[in-house]
Subunit: 183 residues, 2 copies
């Protein structure tokens, strides 16, 4: 039997995306979001939704750039920390021990220790209500050599990314492969 749950924002398997940007004083900041994903293949683009109250909001608008960094399962504590705390109150890089690296192609910092880093140029933003949706054009992706497969692309089992469930407020890893697509 189906039960109505009302107007909610649940989707169960959300990605864990750590967004990097500079503030007006060029201080690097990071925050964790689960509301985002690829939205276009040409130009390759990613969307992230942020509340205006988040410290990174103005920095992304001012700098016109951000990075999306994908953590591994063993970096879940750092990912959670930067999602809970605000860059207004602390230097989250210092607190977590993560290292900001200035991207050579966009005006935003990426996280050295995270295995996959997506460089984005802000091309659009729109106020949707509580959240503002930013769309960034992906101008490069870099990855640790150690997580690449024999074709030079990231191997999901080596990256070992995290999935977040907003209902149980818990982080999960990826299990074994179920099947390959017929594509």
């Amino acid at each position: 039997m189906k039960v109505s749950l009302g107007r909610k924002t649940l989707l169960l398997a959300h990605p864990v995306l750590i967004v990097g940007s500079y503030d007006k004083d060029d201080k690097p900041n990071i925050l964790a979001i689960s509301w985002g994903g690829i939205c276009n293949s040409g130009p390759p683009s990613i969307t992230i939704s942020l509340r205006k109250s988040r410290y990174s909001y103005q920095g992304i608008l001012d700098s016109g750039a951000f990075t999306v960094n994908i953590p591994s399962v063993d970096q879940a504590a750092e990912a959670d920390f930067v999602g809970i705390k605000s860059g207004r109150d602390m230097d989250k890089f210092k607190e977590t021990g993560l290292t900001p690296i200035r991207s050579e192609i966009v005006n935003a910092p990426y996280i050295k220790e995270f295995p996959v880093n997506i460089m984005c140029k802000l091309i659009k933003h729109e106020d949707l209500g509580y959240h503002t949706q930013f769309i960034g054009e992906i101008v490069d992706i870099i990855a640790d050599e150690s997580v690449l497969n024999e074709k030079g692309m990231p191997d999901i089992k080596k990256v070992n990314p995290i999935v977040y469930d907003t209902i149980s407020k818990s982080y999960f890893g990826i299990a074994e492969k179920i099947r390959k697509s017929g594509l």
Copy 2:
């Protein structure tokens, strides 16, 4: 060492979302997408990106509504099938044995057999290039009673949702919990 992969659309852990809509003849159709997710909490909204060439594209625009259905791991074959084949060529419900149910609150069909069904009213669409982004306001979510936890919300381990990796073109389940958020 970091290696540049260029302009790509990879994100590793994509959700598997089965989108339901009616075509101009009121025939129900479904397609699988991985480029979508929650984008706003007020109003609660979900975004999905589709190519104009997809059969569902016009149907969603004409009916102003769609559903997002979340399959379980044991429904990965059906999810993959409806992502590969086109509703132009066949009735995907008939081919998969899935059952379309007319939503009582939006003009779109949901999938009876899938454990979580999200009812969406189209509020916005924008051509981003290769893909068009649709934003739907979530007007209700329904779920199988059997997947709910003691608080009446979906339990991720009972729903057992699927994650898709575009690099290996493979489906994965969710592993055991890593940690609870400090939220």
